[in-house]
């Protein structure tokens, strides 16, 4: 019998000696635990569609140098932090110096701060469900720690541009930790981009801890190139009456995987998770989300839309787990999907586990194609087929795009989507 493939030991040699001692120590511990870690296979339930796209050859184990040619980010107004290959570029960054808001790179933490952070890293994620996040914990070379004091409000969105420069093969491990104290507020925009054409792996972890009444919005834009395997995890823990909003907009690639895990741990907490995924060619995009209703009286609302063209493949797996004590939970999940060609594939799986008896829980999933009558109506007015297809496809996701906070981000997303569809409908 063939034994299951394990993580190559080449991946367990981290760079990044500038991290403070406690974080180096944490990394080492996490690395030790990964020795002989079995890689997901077709038989691993949460990787069954994606394991064959995960290609962790030894050449990807190398740390990418933190220098390199700059890619083109969306260049949007607001505070900005640039990470190149997982390491912050201070001279390109511009972030607020405000009372009550501390933004620090991991490499700049003193030992005491680093020890406190080391205690908390990975606490938002179920490490069994997000196997690949553990690799990030063994390999991160820097990171961003964002701490909002009680009632602090960040006055503009903070853009974190995670750029990977693929002039040689290798991997990068961006990491963000957000600690939002009581009634603090912020909007974060994570933008993942790449330059260069060599094969690379981007393995990200972003964690949010929201104290009572905190409000955090996270926009996540996955825009990397065709040479990039992107495996990301986002973990969120919410105390009472806090509100978390996530807006993920993902463009396909050889492998795109995002695990989003939210735990509603205090009464009256709310989360809203929106996602738009578009794929074409032979691209592959896999979203796994999990919402844990731990406390009573919490609301969750999740809306994901996938659009797959050509021979691409998109996956949505949405888990909602309502714990026994989480009475009066209100959970809504909707996943609608659009297949633009007969060769495309979309798999959707709502997973509901409900252990409380007084809850409202609704879910719906559909897979469809563009409506021929609508198309005829548009072209009968002289509108070209390509444009008509783009209009109808955009219509399918407009409701979500319009909810993306920050006008400049919304406009940029709209533009990118338009370009994407124009390309997807090129043959028409």
């Amino acid at each position: 019998m063939k034994s299951a493939p394990t993580l190559s030991s080449a991946f367990l040699q981290p760079a990044g000696e500038f991290l403070p001692g406690p974080l180096l120590e944490l990394r080492k511990q996490r690395g030790t635990a990964l020795v002989d870690m079995p890689l997901p296979t077709r038989k691993t339930e949460n990787w069954k569609y994606s394991s064959r796209h995960l290609k962790l050859s030894d050449e990807l184990a190398a740390s990418l140098p933190s220098s390199g040619k700059e890619g083109s980010s969306l260049a949007l107004p607001g505070y900005r932090v640039i990470f190149r290959n997982g390491v912050m570029v201070p001279e390109a960054s511009d972030f607020p110096d405000m009372n009550g808001i501390r933004i620090q790179r991991f490499c700049d933490l003193d030992d005491q701060e680093a020890a406190a952070l080391a205690e908390r890293l990975d606490n938002t994620l179920d490490s069994h469900a997000v196997q690949m996040a553990r690799l990030n914990s063994a390999r991160f070379e820097d990171g961003l720690l964002i701490q909002l004091d009680k009632e602090a409000v960040l006055d503009q969105p903070l853009f974190i541009v995670h750029e990977v420069t693929a002039s040689s093969a290798g991997s990068a491990y961006p990491r963000i930790y957000v600690d939002a104290a009581r009634h603090s507020q912020m909007t974060l925009v994570e933008e993942y981009i790449s330059s260069g054409n060599e094969p690379v792996l981007v393995n990200t972890v972003t964690e949010f801890v929201l104290a009572e009444g905190a409000q955090v919005t996270d926009v996540r834009l996955t825009l990397e190139g065709e040479n990039v395997q992107h495996i990301g995890a986002t973990g969120v823990r919410q105390a009472a009456t806090s509100r978390f909003e996530s807006h993920c907009v993902g463009f396909g690639g050889p492998l795109r995987r995002h695990d989003l895990q939210v735990r509603l741990e205090g009464e009256g907490a709310e989360c809203k998770l929106n996602g738009v995924v578009v794929t074409q060619g032979k691209q592959h995009y896999d979203n796994h989300t999990s919402i844990e209703h731990v406390a009573a009286h919490c609301d969750s609302e999740e809306t994901y839309r996938n659009i797959a063209a050509d021979e691409s493949h998109a996956i949505f797996n949405g888990r909602i787990h309502i714990h026994q004590d989480a009475q009066k939970s209100n959970a809504n999940m909707s996943n609608k999907n659009l297949l633009l060609s007969t060769g495309a594939e979309i798999d959707t799986k709502p997973e509901l586990e409900i252990y409380a008896d007084d809850v409202k829980c609704a879910h719906g999933a559909t897979i469809g194609q563009l409506d021929k009558t609508s198309l005829f109506y548009l072209v009968s007015r002289g509108i070209g087929r390509r444009e008509a297809n783009t209009l109808l496809t955009m219509a399918f996701i407009n409701e979500l795009v319009e909810q993306v906070p920050v006008e400049a981000v919304r406009d940029a997303v709209q533009l990118r989507l338009n370009d994407f569809f124009n390309q997807a409908f090129q043959e028409i």
Binding site: F376, S380, R381, G382, I383, L391, M394, A395, N398
Partner: protein, 258 residues
């Protein structure tokens, strides 16, 4: 302007149009009447280029151009406009975006500069008044949540914006109350022009009291069985289709409703 010769069309192997011949000159308004299932709507859809139907024989030319060789959007750009019997609701695409995209596609085809959003908005607001539509509807999804009458007015508004050479109105009067019928008729009458042909497809005579046609044709069993002047419409109203050897209970029963 429009010339249809021996047109045969079928859907799923069943022949619906069985040899239509029709000539419409510029400036003329023709009405096609006939009982349900006679092929009226099929004819409209075939003219506009619907892929639902297969043209098996015959020809259609518009100003000498062979329409059957053109895609739907190319026909539209050559000046063919179909006001749909059942206008389609498209949530997520705003009317404004839809109308501007269509107008600009036409302008581009004619070698004219595109209209920017502000210019178009101004123009669209003026035209919307002509068909008595609240300009607020421009921001809504295409036909989304519109009443039957609003949908039909939106169709006429599109014709006014696109200024076609041939306007085909498919049962534009159906589902309209008397006030809406006036508005729509006024819109259609505003379209009448020396260089434009109008083809009205209708089950009932009442629309023809408001938009007076130059010619009336009776379509039955996939063929035009009778043609005449406007007086033919009145004759049909009084006598139904029976005297032509055509069965249509609904038309006979409702011919007194105007």
């Amino acid at each position: 302007m429009l010339s249809i010769k021996n047109l045969h069309a079928s859907v799923g192997g069943e022949e619906i149009l069985k040899g239509i011949n029709l000539e419409i000159k510029a400036g003329e308004v023709h009405a096609i009447m006939g009982p349900n299932g006679s092929g009226k709507s099929t004819l409209s859809q075939v003219l506009a280029g619907s892929e639902t139907f297969e043209v098996t024989e015959g020809e259609i030319t518009l100003n000498g151009e062979n329409l059957l060789e053109l895609e739907t959007e190319e026909r539209a750009r050559e000046g063919v406009f179909l006001a749909f019997q059942y206008p389609v609701e498209i949530p997520g695409v705003s009317n404004l975006q839809f109308l501007r995209t269509a107008v600009n596609a036409m302008r581009l085809h004619r070698g004219e500069p595109e209209m920017n959003a502000a210019e178009f908005m101004k123009h669209a607001k003026e035209v919307s008044k002509q068909v008595d539509l609240d300009p607020a509807f421009l921001k809504r999804g295409v036909n989304e949540g519109f009443s039957g009458g609003e949908k039909k007015r939106n169709e006429i508004m599109q014709a006014l914006l696109l200024q076609p050479k041939l306007a085909i109105l498919d049962e534009t009067d159906s589902g309209l109350d008397i006030d809406a019928l006036h508005v729509v008729s006024d819109g259609v009458n505003a379209l009448r022009a020396e260089d434009r042909a109008i083809l009205m497809v209708t089950h009932y005579q009442r629309l023809l009291n408001h938009i007076v046609p130059d010619y009336v044709h009776v379509l039955a069993g996939g063929k035009i069985v009778k043609s005449g002047g406007r007086e033919l419409a009145h004759e049909l109203e009084e006598r139904g289709y029976g005297w032509l050897g055509v069965k249509d209970e609904e038309a006979t029963a409702s011919s007194s409703v105007t």
